[in-house]
């Protein structure tokens, strides 16, 4: 999955400044792309905890809420009665990579999403609209299935080709 994502066009990112809230995610130990940055030896930030992107985030926007909800999962206990509560670093880094890149490609009419973890530390994000429903499922580790579940009327299935472009495409079906 990581490999697949890294081969997509995720240009790192000479644009405006991301909010402090989002930047907190981009600690190198959590961020899969940092690997690639090292390889390319192209510094894209002058601070390890700051990151630049081409869009603005404002408090209350759907993407801001989504990233805040992801961040809040990190504040949870590691486990609860149901299972692992805090997302794994794999789940978190892949999810953020997908979300931020998808949002960079299209940030108009981005719907509000609902974030949760499964019992193993994987991340689920659900988006609903009167037209249908999309669920992004990023498991706790790379050797499990990543997918987008979609449901529009009587049609439902999963799309296992998970990448930012696909996520944008499916989200657009909700609009």
């Amino acid at each position: 999955m990581i490999t697949e994502l890294e081969t997509t066009d995720i240009t790192p990112i000479p644009y405006g400044e991301i909010s402090q809230r989002t930047a907190a995610f981009y600690r190198p130990e959590n961020y899969a792309i940092s690997h690639r940055q090292e390889q390319s030896r192209e510094p894209i930030t002058n601070s390890p905890y700051r990151f630049k992107v081409e869009f603005f985030l404002e408090k209350g926007w759907p993407i801001d809420s989504l990233l805040a909800d992801l961040r809040d999962l990190l504040k949870e206990d590691k486990e609860d009665e149901y299972g692992i509560l805090r997302p794994t670093s794999h789940a978190l880094s892949v999810t953020i990579l997908l979300i931020v890149e998808a949002y960079r490609r299209q940030h108009s009419e981005w719907p509000f999403g609902c974030v949760s973890t499964d019992s193993e530390g994987g991340i689920r994000i659900e988006w609903n609209s009167p037209k249908g429903e999309i669920r992004l499922v990023v498991p706790d580790s790379d050797n499990k299935k990543h997918y987008i579940y979609y449901e529009f009327g009587d049609k439902y299935d999963i799309d296992e080709q998970v990448n930012p472009g696909k996520l944008v495409w499916w989200l657009n079906q909700l609009i």
Binding site: E81, Y82, G83, V115, S119, E120, E133, R135, E151
Partner: protein, 136 residues
């Protein structure tokens, strides 16, 4: 002539009537869509086989035998309780089997790793049916 069918399983309890109501505890805050005041599909997945949990199905309590307060107090953290109708669960092809005086399991749900599409589908259908009877 009336046919007599043996029970489908080894339960000592008779089948729950379709009008019965069951409770499902909401054990995680993130299972609640705060914006729309609804529970998400995440609340209705069986945990993987190797966890040893949910082997008989999704755990629920029977409303006629168990109060909301009892459901809440049986967990160290409970962020809400939702109710579902047994008949409506049967309408979508699942069932509810009582295994203890106050407890039952929603059966027929596949594991996510065995049948991802139907696990997602059923989880979504159950979430749409569920109604909050208690929320923190």
């Amino acid at each position: 002539m009336t046919q007599i069918f043996p029970p489908q399983d080894d339960s000592i309890f008779p089948p729950l009537p379709c009008y019965a109501i069951i409770y499902r505890a909401i054990l995680r805050k993130s299972w609640i869509d705060q914006r729309n005041n609804r529970v998400t599909s995440a609340a209705f997945f069986r945990r993987p086989h190797d966890s040893g949990k949910d082997l008989d199905g999704l755990s629920v309590n029977i409303a006629a035998a168990c109060s909301v307060e009892e459901v809440r107090s049986s967990f160290s953290e409970c962020f809400g309780v939702v109710s579902l109708h047994v008949g409506r669960i049967r309408d979508i092809g699942l069932d509810v089997h009582q295994n203890e005086p106050k407890h039952a399991n929603i059966t027929g749900l596949p594991y996510q790793q065995d049948d991802t599409v139907n696990a997602e589908r059923f989880a979504g259908l159950l979430a749409k049916q569920a109604r909050f009877v208690h929320r923190i």
